[in-house]
């Protein structure tokens, strides 16, 4: 039977998150020690070869992003930012890493900073994550005291300062360009791409932005080596992924699995199956900006390429399990209402479109054929909206139309 495979969460059962000594005994900062003896370019090559892709939702190759940011200028100031805004409904994996093993994240960030040549970093964390904020504050302090952060990291001559910055309740601020605006102390209005953060990010300097879970893979890749890492997962989806599984299942929660496990394995072998009296009907993969799937997906490997081939996404790894009692039109209405609430209103297609979609979704139960009009409207939005939020409603809508209408 299949079991969990933990990289990001490898230490959580063994340590007290508030104790750096615990973490050190369990191997924290060994990856950093290795990194400091290596050549940054070689390391980037290693991260490229590892096949690691961003765990924040878009799945962009991590090593490539490091390479772009490093090569965008040689001697100028560069920054590194951890996206800890975690706002995608159904997602709470980053919180688990931050609350239970903050040094895994910090170590990953120091390695990435060394690799791209950044001397300052920020963790942009959502304001609601009180416990994570407290744990991280203490961990940053302890890491400074132990010489892993600050001037002359472990005597290597490399300087790196890390600070926390709080959000204040906005899903859109998790989008990387909007995050930059918010971090600069402005309203969370998106920036136009390009330029990408790797060229012009924080305060117009090259900036590397990665998700919490992405950073937390870097130490293990250095410690355990490429062969080990690339032996995990599928052809195009290497390593592990934390899935957060919710709905009427026996054991809702977070599970770190080798990429390519199936929904059937995850749901029935790991999460204990459905609650008594409930039958599996399908799932919403990846949160609000995700896709609906039906029973035919139970045996499809959970990996970027296999899901993409069937028009679905892995997204942040959120899996909301649907059962025979789930009121589907009401759930879809809830998702549309979410987008309406989080739309910043800067551009017309999204501001008007999300309102229209919410109104139509409210009538969907009695007028099921409205789904076609909604999908059309969402297509139009996807083509004309300024930022990815306005391009998102099409994802759940199209897949809903395919499987649930």
């Amino acid at each position: 039977m299949i079991a969990e495979k933990r990289i990001s969460l490898a230490r959580i059962e063994k340590i007290n998150a508030d104790s750096i000594d615990d973490s050190l005994k369990a191997g924290a900062y060994n990856g950093l020690k290795k990194a400091l003896t290596m050549n940054p370019e070689e390391m980037i090559e290693k991260f490229e070869k590892s096949g690691l892709r961003g765990r924040g939702g878009a799945g962009f190759p991590t090593g490539l992003k490091q390479k772009f940011t490093r090569s965008s200028c040689l001697d100028c100031e560069k920054y590194i930012i951890c996206n800890a805004d975690e706002g995608e409904p159904g997602t709470f994996k980053d919180r688990v890493i931050m609350e239970r093993d903050p040094h895994m994240l910090i170590e990953g960030m120091i390695i990435a900073a060394y690799v791209i040549g950044a001397s300052r970093g920020f963790i942009y964390i959502r304001g609601e994550y009180q416990r994570s904020i407290e744990v991280l504050q203490k961990a940053i302090e302890d890491s400074n005291k132990n010489g892993f952060l600050g001037e002359n990291v472990l005597g290597s001559g490399f300087n790196f300062n890390l600070e926390l910055r709080l959000g204040a309740g906005s899903y859109l601020c998790g989008e990387e360009l909007t995050l930059l605006e918010s971090l600069e102390g402005k309203r969370g209005y998106p920036r136009i791409k390009p330029p990408f953060p790797a060229q012009k990010g924080l305060w117009e300097s090259p900036t590397l932005i990665n998700n919490v879970e992405t950073f937390s893979h870097l130490p293990a890749i250095l410690n355990e080596g490429l062969d080990w890492y690339t032996s995990l997962g599928t052809e195009e989806s290497k390593g592990t992924k934390i899935f957060t599984i919710t709905g009427r299942v026996q054991k809702p929660g977070f599970y770190e699995m080798e990429m390519g496990c199936t929904l059937r394995e995850l749901l029935f072998d790991i999460a204990g199956g459905m609650k008594d009296g409930y039958e599996f009907k399908g799932a919403l993969l990846g949160g609000a900006a995700g896709t609906f799937v039906d029973e035919s997906f139970l045996d499809i490997p959970l990996a970027y390429e296999t899901l993409k081939a069937r028009g679905a996404t892995l997204g942040s790894g959120a899996i909301l399990v649907l059962d025979q009692e789930t009121d589907m039109p009401s759930l879809l209405h809830n998702l549309m209402d979410f987008f309406k609430h989080e739309s910043c209103g800067k551009c017309v297609p999204c501001r008007v479109g999300t309102t229209m979609l919410t109104e139509m979704a409210a009538k969907l139960k009695n007028e099921p054929e409205l789904i076609h009009k909604m999908t059309k409207e969402a297509h139009y939005m996807a083509e004309t909206s300024l930022c990815p939020l306005g391009q998102s409603p099409i994802l759940p809508l199209k897949s809903y139309r395919e499987y649930y209408s």
Binding site: G87, P89, E128, G169, S170, G185, G247, F254, L284, G287
Partner: protein, 154 residues
Amino acid sequence: MKYEAGLQKDRAEKKSLIIEHLHSLQDANPKQFLSEDDLKKCAKEFNLTMAEVYGIASYYSMFSLKPRGKYIIRLCKSSVCHMMGAENMASKIESLCKTKFGNTSANDLFTLEYAECLGQCEKAPAMMINKNVHGSLNPESLEKIIENLKKENA
């Protein structure tokens, strides 16, 4: 020229602390909101116009521009909590706190707000009361939590 660029950079870097500053002003305000006075203080601290500060404060959902009660109840209404019965919890909370969502109870004890996903979905339906998380809510647990708060303040 060089020192001017430096000054501008310092100013820009300082501005990245504005959300932190607004959080701390709001936390220090006994009515848990950003008063006109708070906004003025912030404008002065960061050398910004009131309009700019207002623009920032009004954008973020954790900031309130009207006075709130001692306990701010933020009930998650996003997809997982919605599916797991958040709406029933909402009406139970309204009847226990004797006020409606979007409002503060007459005794200034409870302010009811909706929130989007709080990242506590394995314990859906979930809510926060000030900085504490409460999950796996049901009518009984809600009653216990809220009645306790009432008792503490009787």
